[in-house]
Amino acid sequence: MKRDHLHIGYILIFVLVLSLYAGCSGQTTASISNYRTGSQALDMQWRTNNQNVVYIGDELDLLLQLSNKGTADITNGELFLSGYDPSYLDLQIDPSPTFSLTGKSQYDPTGAFSDIYTIKAINVQGPKNIGQFQQSVLVSACYEYKTTATASVCIDSDPYNRITRQKACTMGTVSVGGQGAPVVISSVEPIVGQKSIRFNIRLSNAGNGVVYNPQISPEQCAEGLSFENTDRVFVTKVTLGGKSLECSPQNPIWLNSGSASLTCECNGDGCIDSNVAAYQTLLEVELRYGYRNSLSTQVNIVNTN
């Protein structure tokens, strides 16, 4: 009888420990790792069905919702409309084409959602003598965005093993995980010299939008992007263990066919701790850029006359 009680006690303790462990590990994943994921920034979704039929003289209402699925905040982004013949559709964005949305964080792992925008044409017109006329409506957003990436890199002060000693890590190219932004640091390759260390950093546009020079305003972006302002990124910060690195090429960096290589160097004292054979340290990279994404729908204008 006493032995049975002992068994039940062991089982209870085991269950308690297991649930405590599961609870704790789940908490860590949700709050720290999960929100810095994906390569999206602004996400746009229609809140109307995709079969928009409108009769001449009627009102057209297309409902749109925005959400920020990246980790950076968006301030004063600009929505604009295109893709349709302005002779027939006089579309307006209600309440306003300007938007701001906070990004994902450990306190808000889904990112902010906007109110519903209405893309509205009061009195739809259509071509004379044509029964039906198909039009596209593209809504595009121009906004400034930021990528903050942190890579844990191994610095080997003796890469040629001149002194035999135990090494804590092996130096090599590292891929950087989810950054919660469309322009990503895809890889970091450290190269160690006598007193310097250099990093070849690879950037790419992993999102489905267009990267543009953040020095032009969202309004200018909405008027059309020239080649000189497209696929341009500013590198605003590269630090190794808190120490700033010198990078080339100069800003803005051109993402040729969607990607670019950046070389950042740490020269002089304090870059490498030569007392330690190999050690892990953090390389932080911060990028600033404009981003433009679009969403389209079809509108069928029907003339019953």
């Binding site: 893709g83 013949d85 006329f133 059309g224 992007l225 433009r292």
Partner: protein, 340 residues
């Protein structure tokens, strides 16, 4: 019983499904397709293949409007070799009356001769009857063959429309990689518009002003059907009245086009006097060997709000051509002597 009920329910469900998925909004424009117009044919028995001399018969001409337009009025003319046939009754011939070989091409009273439309999906069809009297043959002739020809003279038109992609970056100075624009500028083939003259292709070219606005130009390839004769509107009547071709207006059509309901102006073409207005300039187009090419552009540049490919959009291009048509049908009839 249960099986019957199940079958009924299945049929109802399928009917409902077809009804729901297959529903499209149809308008008269949907019937303005093909290259048809009013065409003539003879009844298989009237006239018969052969007649005796001094015999009276009937000629039945069947007119069918298989194009997309209604004919408000027109004429139907029957002709033949005067030495073999008289178009009318024997009594009328004996009284030296004028042959009754021309009638109005109408379908009933106060009703146009409808083409294909929602209410007449296959177009109107009507038979027209004439009397035919075979004259006595000269003594030296045992038999003679003559051709009976029917002509329909009527006004007709073609309305065509297509969508043109307005290129907001014609000189390719801007980019929008990774974002698919609403459309990409390209030459287009135009579906036939339910008449015998049609624009086959439209080539587009876009020029940009220093302010960035766009001036589109279009090159139209126009082709006429070979199975009808074409005239400037109104001149087809001269053919039925006097069987004369007015050479000056033969193979002539009047042409109007607009982009987003704004009229196009055409280079090197003459405006039709008394027909054109500032809002609707109409040009004389002369076909050579059944076809021609013309060039037209918008009067004013199009304002460009988004000056890169993301700003591209589809604009409706409409084309209207009016012309006179003479449709023909022929039948050979043999006349033999009584002595045979």
């Amino acid at each position: 019983m249960d099986k019957r009920l199940f079958a009924l329910m299945l049929i109802a469900y399928v009917a409902l499904l077809i009804g729901c998925t297959g529903s499209t909004i149809q308008t008269d424009t949907d019937y303005k397709t093909g290259t048809g117009t009013l065409q003539l044919s003879f009844d298989s028995q009237f006239p018969p293949q052969s007649l005796m001399e001094n015999e009276q018969s009937a000629v039945v001409v069947v007119a069918k409007n298989s194009g997309g337009y209604s004919i408000p009025s027109g004429k139907l003319l029957l002709t033949t070799d005067d030495s073999v046939f008289y178009i009318g009754t024997k009594d009328a011939f004996d009284q030296n009356s004028k042959p009754t070989n021309i009638v109005g091409l109408v379908k009933g009273s106060n009703r146009p001769f409808y083409g294909k439309s929602i209410i007449t999906p296959t177009g109107d069809q009507q038979s027209f009857s004439f009397n035919l009297y075979s004259l006595p043959l000269p003594q030296e002739s045992q038999r003679r063959t003559a051709t009976i020809t029917a002509y329909a003279c009527f006004p007709y038109e073609t309305f065509q429309h297509t969508s043109i992609c307005i290129d907001q970056d014609p000189y390719k100075t801007k980019t929008s990689s990774q974002i698919k624009p609403a459309c990409t500028a390209q030459d287009v083939s135009v579906d036939s518009g339910g008449g015998p003259v049609n624009v086959q292709t439209v080539q587009s070219r876009f020029d940009q002003t220093p302010q960035g606005d766009i001036t589109p130009s279009f090159y139209f390839t126009i082709e006429g059907s070979t199975y009808v004769k074409l005239f400037a509107p109104g001149d087809e009547n001269a053919f039925c009245d006097a069987q004369q071709i007015v050479a000056k207006t033969h193979d002539t059509v009047y042409f109007t086009a607009s982009l987003s309901d704004k009229p196009l102006v055409c280079d090197g073409l003459t405006l039709v006097q008394g027909y054109s207005t500032a809002l609707n300039p109409t040009y004389v187009v002369q076909l050579q060997d059944g076809q021609t090419k013309i060039s037209c552009k918008t009067e004013q540049p199009i304002f460009s709000s988004v000056g890169d490919p993301l700003g591209n959009y589809l604009a409706p291009l409409t084309i209207n051509m009016t012309y006179g048509v003479v449709s023909t049908a022929s039948r050979s009839v043999e006349v033999t002597t009584l002595s045979q």
